[in-house]
């Protein structure tokens, strides 16, 4: 008697499961699409949630953003690559895990290993100094001071070996300036400690600068975009420097292209591309992206190789700046 009941129950459950499995074969997307984000909770994640929400609306589904920080974004990238290539996992492909970490030898993939959906956003950094600084009045004077006082200055690029660190190290190398990098895990704390004059100079992002423009002095904007120069109140940009750092376009900036597994079926990829392009073209999305201090990017997937390839070759050719800094710091100790 009991066995019969059990059988009946399992049959029912089986039918239920089969029914749901059949519906799974219906048109894409049939369920939520996950966006794997490589950083912890904060502005960048909120930004990705804006794009994901709009893209989800275009697709008629929800797109939850999952934060998987760790090892400069490589944990998220590795995790995302382990998911099935069915279009239900989208990677928030930031420059650090996508291009920089492979160059530094910390990852075994290449940006060409992925299918692009569309460019999403970029964010510009600047190098800022203390307010009321008496030792120098601009970036080049600071570099001259630094060259004469090797190892005396303290600066932070946020995390060690991230994109701002690489760009700053390249700038310092160009001026033969050796300064001690102090790693931080929270960008806000870098800004706070620069404001309270614990650090001599540091990278700052648009968001922190806009909240407290009086707390720091922008010395150099690490971007050539006019919008970035404006966001940092017209401070000089790397294009206006006396030396050529070999960085242009997206090279010195943080950015993300949304990408998927290369084995994702073409029809699914096309649907995702169309939805993302429509989402990125929406004015409400552009407004929200700009409000958070990022720059919306308008390149579609056809420009991926050209744009990202350009950044890849630029960063590749300056890859030794970080190693140079490490060597010089070791010599001082």
């Amino acid at each position: 008697m009991e066995l019969r009941k059990l059988l009946k129950g399992s049959l029912l459950a089986g039918a239920f499961v089969a029914a749901s499995a059949t519906t799974a074969l219906a048109e894409f997307p049939e369920r939520n699409i996950e966006v794997i984000h490589p950083w912890g909770p904060g502005n960048a994640m909120a930004m990705s949630q804006v794009v994901a929400k709009a893209m989800g609306e275009e697709l008629g589904t929800d797109m939850p953003v999952i934060s998987l920080p760790g090892a400069a974004g490589t944990k998220a990238q590795t995790t995302a690559m382990g998911k099935p290539a069915d279009g239900y996992t989208v990677f928030d492909g930031y420059v650090a895990p996508l291009v920089l970490q492979p160059i530094l030898g910390n990852a075994d993939w290449n940006f060409k290993d992925f299918k692009p959906l569309s460019a999403a956003v970029a964010n510009a950094f600047a190098i800022a100094g203390q307010v009321g600084e008496t030792r120098w009045s601009n970036f080049e004077e600071m570099m001259a001071y630094c060259k004469d006082n090797r190892g005396e200055l303290r600066y932070s690029s946020g995390s060690r070996n991230n994109l701002p660190h690489m760009v700053i190290a390249k700038a310092l190398q160009s001026y033969d300036c050796v300064a001690q990098n102090v790693p931080y895990t929270q960008d806000g704390n870098v800004f706070k400690d620069l404001g309270s004059k614990v650090l001599d100079f540091a990278f700052v992002n648009v968001g922190n600068f806009r909240s407290n423009p009086d707390k720091v002095k922008i010395l150099l904007v690490l971007s050539e975009l006019p919008s970035s120069k404006k966001a940092f109140h017209g401070a000089p940009t790397i294009g206006e420097l006396g030396v050529d750092l070999g960085l242009s376009n997206l090279g010195p900036m943080g950015w993300t292209w949304w990408i998927v597994n290369p084995d994702t079926p073409d029809d699914v990829t096309e649907k995702l591309r169309g939805a993302m392009e429509r989402a990125m073209a929406r004015q409400d999305v552009k407004d929200a992206v700009e409000a958070i201090g990022f720059v919306p990017l308008e390149w579609d997937h056809t420009k991926y190789e050209e744009i990202v390839g350009g950044v890849d070759s630029q960063l590749n050719s300056m890859g030794n700046a970080l190693a140079w800094e490490e060597e010089e710091l070791k010599k001082l100790n």
């Binding site: 009991e2 009941k5 059990l6 129950g9 399992s10 459950a13 499961v17 749901s20 499995a21 519906t23 799974a24 049939e30 369920r31 939520n32 996950e34 929800d62 939850p64 099935p84 069915d86 239900y88 001690q180 990098n181 790693p183 710091l329 100790n333």
Partner: protein, 163 residues
Amino acid sequence: MISSRTLNLATLGFLFAVVVIVFWQIGTDFQEQGIASGGPYDNAASYPRAIAIFIGVLVGLQLVVELLKGKPAAQAVHFERSDLARAGMMLVVFAVYLMVLTTIGYHLATAPMICAIMWICGMRNVLKLVLASVAIATGFAFVFEVFLNVVLPLGIWNIFIPW
């Protein structure tokens, strides 16, 4: 059945093993990565090493306290074998559940796990077992998938409920 001294010694043994792992890793993996020495910028070993030494000292102290206490007369923890077995079986069922979750997915794995634990608890009414386990599994899935947009493990057969 199990004396508190055995449990205490087991815990000290575990903590000692942790200390050994720390030193072993610093001596091998940290060395290879070049992060076992240097200043605060490059030396990732000094802090875990300091804590491991501290733990080591405390383990030693606790061991002395344990041995000095003499043989505890009334401190044995009394559990029936059947009681321990239930807890052990629950852990085994749960471990198996976590192992198969990625492969067969939430919807196939969960109801049997709940059913098994209820069985271990002593429930023998098959109808109640089946109904309750399916209801609990589906109810939680509904709340998390519909209200919180969580994508539960689908397994290799991509099984999900299109709510």
